[in-house]
Symmetry: C2
Subunit: 192 residues, 2 copies
């Protein structure tokens, strides 16, 4: 059994993801990664490749966790429109109760690397399209049942929801006051 | 006359701001600053202080430019509500026609440094409050003239506009398609 797998890969990824999320790609040094994981440099290189590959793996790991979270919000909802509301209210509550002001790893990654790293840009564009398709499908279902006015453009509304989510996460890094975050979320959802 | 002022300070700040905006604080090396400005390290240190002080000065310089831009949008508007619309439409057109996908320097700075650098956090919170007050004053004037329903909470609507602006700038780093950016902007403004 090679030395490089004598650790819990998911546990390491979890620690590394927290670090990249908090400090960004350029703000995280190889030494930070060694300190956070307890692994030496060669173990990290052997198991994950270089810093950039490790960062990419962290992004995918975070995206997987976010998908699980979204599904858990949807599971509580009784209708397509309620699914969207439940998602925003879940994120709102997470922001208000959350311990830190790290924002969203994917938004932070967008502002740091999307214009300089084509592979990261592609990953983020695909993530945006996936989320927009998800919102669009819910909006169209809600339009069929009359929950959302059929006069609204489903794609534009879906893009607006994606954009609003980015804005909420960035703003929450500067303002976690309950009434403010609640007020912004209510205004976002008033468009539905 | 000390050597350190034998250059155009604003021209240097303009170049440095473009660099920090594009590459972020941690992604910009001292060598990048030397290469972009044509100044040597000691001239930079003597005139602007260390990299962090230079970054702070760049943020203030960018904020000043943004204020001028906002005022130019407001100058075209016929009413308080139109001022808000004109600002969003101006930014929308800037995104669509703009050359790059650098986003907004202040949003990029928020995701990179607001949780780790208290001085930067304070600066960004003050900027958010300044913009929110500006939006709030316009909304209240528009409510007095009946342009915006007086039942709406001016502070929450102002925070929503600030948040929507962050979202639009982050999203535009992944999508500059005219109809998409136009669609998001229309949805944002439909709340007014």
């Amino acid at each position: 059994m090679p030395k490089s797998v004598l650790f819990d890969r998911e546990e390491v990824l979890r620690k590394v993801t927290t670090l990249f999320w908090e400090k960004g790609y350029h703000g995280t040094s190889m030494q930070d990664l060694v300190d956070a994981t307890g692994l030496n440099r060669s173990s990290i290189y052997n198991s994950f490749g270089d810093k950039f590959q490790l960062y990419e793996e962290s992004l995918k790991y975070y995206q997987g966790l976010q998908s699980e979270l979204v599904n858990s919000y949807f599971a509580q909802a009784q209708s397509p429109k309620q699914s969207i509301i439940s998602l925003f209210e879940g994120i709102r509550d997470e922001i208000i109760k959350g311990p830190g002001e790290k924002g969203c790893f994917l938004s932070n990654c967008t502002t740091e690397l999307s214009h300089s790293e084509p592979r990261i840009h592609d990953f983020l564009v695909k993530n945006k399209e996936r989320m927009t398709r998800m919102f669009s499908a819910l909006i169209q279902k809600a339009q069929q049942t009359g929950e959302i006015a059929s006069s609204k453009n489903a794609r534009h509304l879906a893009l607006y929801l994606f954009s609003s989510l980015q804005g909420l996460r960035v703003t929450s890094m500067l303002d976690k006051k309950r009434s403010d975050i609640q007020g912004i979320t209510d205004q976002i959802l008033s468009v539905l």
